[in-house]
């Protein structure tokens, strides 16, 4: 198997608070291959955004990474770099951020600075990471001129599909619509041709037709730049549309992961099944009651004993008061689906337990 781009193993990010320690990300492992899209799904507070921020050493104070590795294979031949051990403030981390791993956030209004023109904000990223950009400049067939940053920024605006880019370059964020602003964010993120783009709920604030445009654009740019995408979202439709592999998180832990087909056609964890069932269907027949997961997400300081999902689970057993391990399962009836990637954290899928109860 080819080397992955990024390998996260047993990552643990905690927030010490007055009332106790919140394990926002707890024992999370997954890997991202070059040029592929990994979707991270879960409800609010499940730790998906903090996982994304951990990869960039951007976890807000007082949070910090206390355990685990984030191996980043910067070059296919190089030794991997463990981001978890790099200081948040180091020059090395600043070189990686934006340059090799870029991030786009949910709110395009709050992540753009209102007092600078959008052009300035794209050019800022370009000038900060000059060396990388000279190669991109050649790729686009542009010359190194005194105004090269401006030219590259305008070229980026063209790539993300903004009409009249020369004029838009000198406009301020408030003059653009929500979809346009998200396109500008994507342009900033992509202007250094990163190897990995972390997209944290990139389309949640947008209308469906604009969401479709932005997703199509991300897809297109992924092919053009060959980057990997880590897509954080709660919308399973977006995951089905974009992702190659899916990681389902609940209360800070990975409960199930696998290829997109594994998750959608052979979900094994009761939480994944519950999530998939609770989406109202757009086609098909109308049901009277929608299957829902009872109860609410537990408070992070007051997690239940054992499996965190156990109080809401319809298939709860005695043994669920102990934490199950995340184990690779290859039980798919369809042998094409067996790929050694499907892993579940649930006692229902542990063979010896089922043998005992049977």
């Amino acid at each position: 198997m080819a080397q992955p781009l990024l390998e996260v193993s047993n990552l643990k990010t905690v927030f010490p608070t007055e009332n106790g320690v919140v394990n926002a990300v707890n024992d999370v492992s997954f890997s991202i291959e070059r040029g592929k899209t990994v979707g991270i799904v879960g409800e609010s507070g499940c730790g998906k955004s903090i996982t994304g921020l951990s990869l960039l050493q951007l976890v807000p104070h007082p949070g910090r990474i206390v355990d685990g590795e984030i191996l980043f294979y910067r070059d296919e031949t190089d030794e991997p770099l463990d981001i978890a051990n790099v200081s948040q403030w180091s020059k090395l981390m600043r070189d990686i951020r934006g340059n090799e791993i870029a991030i786009i956030f949910q709110e395009p209004m709050t992540s753009l600075n209102p007092v600078y023109t959008v052009g300035d904000q794209i050019a800022e990223a370009i000038v900060l990471h000059q060396e990388q950009n000279r190669s991109l400049l050649q790729q686009f067939g542009l010359q190194t001129t005194p105004k090269w940053a401006r030219e590259l920024a305008i070229e980026m605006l063209v790539r993300v599909g903004i009409p009249a880019p020369e004029q838009r370059f000198d406009e301020y964020p408030h003059q653009l619509s929500g979809g346009m602003r998200q396109r500008v964010m994507i342009a900033i993120a992509l202007c250094c041709a990163p190897a990995l783009l972390i997209a944290d709920e990139p389309t949640t604030a947008l209308d469906v037709t604009i969401q479709a445009q932005v997703l199509a654009l991300m897809h297109e740019l992924q092919t053009e730049f060959g980057m990997a995408i880590m897509l954080i979202t709660h919308d399973l439709g977006v995951i089905a549309d974009m992702a190659d592999e899916v990681v389902v998180m609940y209360a800070g832990r990975v409960v199930e992961k696998g290829t997109v087909d594994d998750i959608f056609y052979n979900p094994l964890h009761p939480y994944t099944r519950g999530l998939l069932n609770s989406i109202p269907s757009l086609g098909g027949s109308q049901q009277d009651t929608l299957p829902s997961i009872s109860g609410t997400v537990p408070h992070p300081l007051d997690l239940p004993v054992g499996c965190s999902f156990q109080p809401r689970c319809t298939e709860r057993m005695q043994i669920c008061e102990q934490m199950p391990e995340l184990n690779v399962i290859d039980t798919a009836a369809d042998t094409d689906l067996r790929n050694g990637k499907h892993a579940v954290r649930c006692w229902l899928c542990e063979e010896d337990v089922n043998a005992e109860t049977a």
């Binding site: 037709t209 439709g237 269907s281």
Partner: protein
């Protein structure tokens, strides 16, 4: 079925003022001549992108803002609510209630749940003072909260539970019509399903009618009997929910349905997606003719010149498109 509400030619134009004399230089036609009706016991879904006038419509119906023109005939008495003075409007306010989008900001953080749910009862004196508490307990239980939650403050509840409080408050005066403006869009998927089920259950129990405003097409499909699609202040299509999703007749409805990513990777890979170009036009300068022609892939010359009327093409289906008979559009 009986008609509960009939909206005729509702318009709301907001003036754009400029210069030191605040001269009116134009109008934003947020809602521009819409017609629909709501039957008793029915849920009417209202969908559209942001800025299409969904929320303005709901605010007009509640008379939170005064409509520029139009009438809405309400209830058995056939009263036109659009022309009533605020004082005359009062007795009708109890009969139309609202559920808001953001359960965080629509509940007063300094009041207990009991105060919040009980306030409409106390103000309107619909229940004897001694019985107010019992009524609050009954309301809380009907939305799935516990009687002892009365003493707690909104911050102690999760998003889904807060939305339940908002629903209990809306039910406090035994309304006939509830206008729900994006009631589930701030909630997580698993909680969203709980609230949708609760709304369906309450509709049966209290014989309610809903106007359900949302941008999520699958949610609207689930809860609505009929669906109206709005674009730039006009209704472009209104019909029975199943018909609308299976065989849309307006190109905008088709594009909206196509833009929703389905939670099924195989279907999603094979689907032919329609990408609408550009953004929703500025409502102060809408395109000529059919407002949608600038983004419509079927547009012809007539679409640029003449504004299509909302007309009945099949029983129960009304569409505002010149070409609806000739087009073969795809649903899901």
């Amino acid at each position: 079925m009986q008609k509960l509400l009939e909206v005729n030619d509702l318009r709301k134009h907001f003036p754009i003022r400029k210069g030191i004399f605040r001269r009116t230089v134009g109008h934003v036609k947020a809602v521009d001549g819409i017609n629909f009706d709501v039957q008793r016991g029915e849920t009417l879904g209202l969908v559209g992108e942001s800025g299409c006038g969904k929320t303005t419509t709901s605010r007009c119906l509640l008379r939170l803002i005064t409509p520029t023109a139009g009438s809405f005939i309400f209830g058995d008495e056939q009263i036109d609510l659009a022309t009533l003075t605020p004082k005359q409007m009062r007795p009708y306010r109890r009969r139309i209630q609202m559920i808001f989008q953001d359960p965080q900001s629509s509940l007063n953080p300094r009041k207990t749940v009991g105060d919040i749910v009980g306030e409409p009862i106390r103000v309107n004196r619909t229940v004897k003072k001694a019985n107010v508490k019992d009524k609050i307990v009954e309301l809380l239980e009907s939305v799935g909260l516990k009687p002892q939650d009365m003493q707690r403050y909104p911050h102690a509840f999760s998003g889904g539970q807060r939305q339940r409080i908002g629903i209990a408050r809306a039910l406090a005066l035994n309304p006939e019509l509830i206008v729900a403006d994006e009631p589930v869009s701030a909630l997580d998927v698993s909680v969203q399903a709980q609230i949708l089920n609760l709304l369906t259950e309450l509709r049966e129990k209290y014989d309610l009618s809903y106007i359900f405003i949302a941008h999520d097409l699958s949610v609207v499909r689930h809860i609505s009997d009929r669906v109206a699609v709005m674009y730039l202040g006009k209704i472009v299509e209104i019909s029975d929910a199943n018909t609308l999703y299976r065989s849309p007749q307006h190109p905008y409805t088709e594009a909206l349905i196509s833009a929703v990513p389905l939670p099924d990777p195989k279907i999603q890979r094979e689907r032919e997606l329609i990408h609408l170009e550009g953004d929703v036009p500025d409502p102060s300068k809408p395109p000529s003719g059919c407002h949608f022609h600038s983004r419509c892939r079927y547009a012809t010359d007539i679409c640029k010149e003449e504004t299509p009327e909302l007309r009945e093409t099949e029983p129960g289906v009304r569409v505002a498109c010149h070409l609806s008979e000739t087009l073969e559009l795809h649903g899901v």
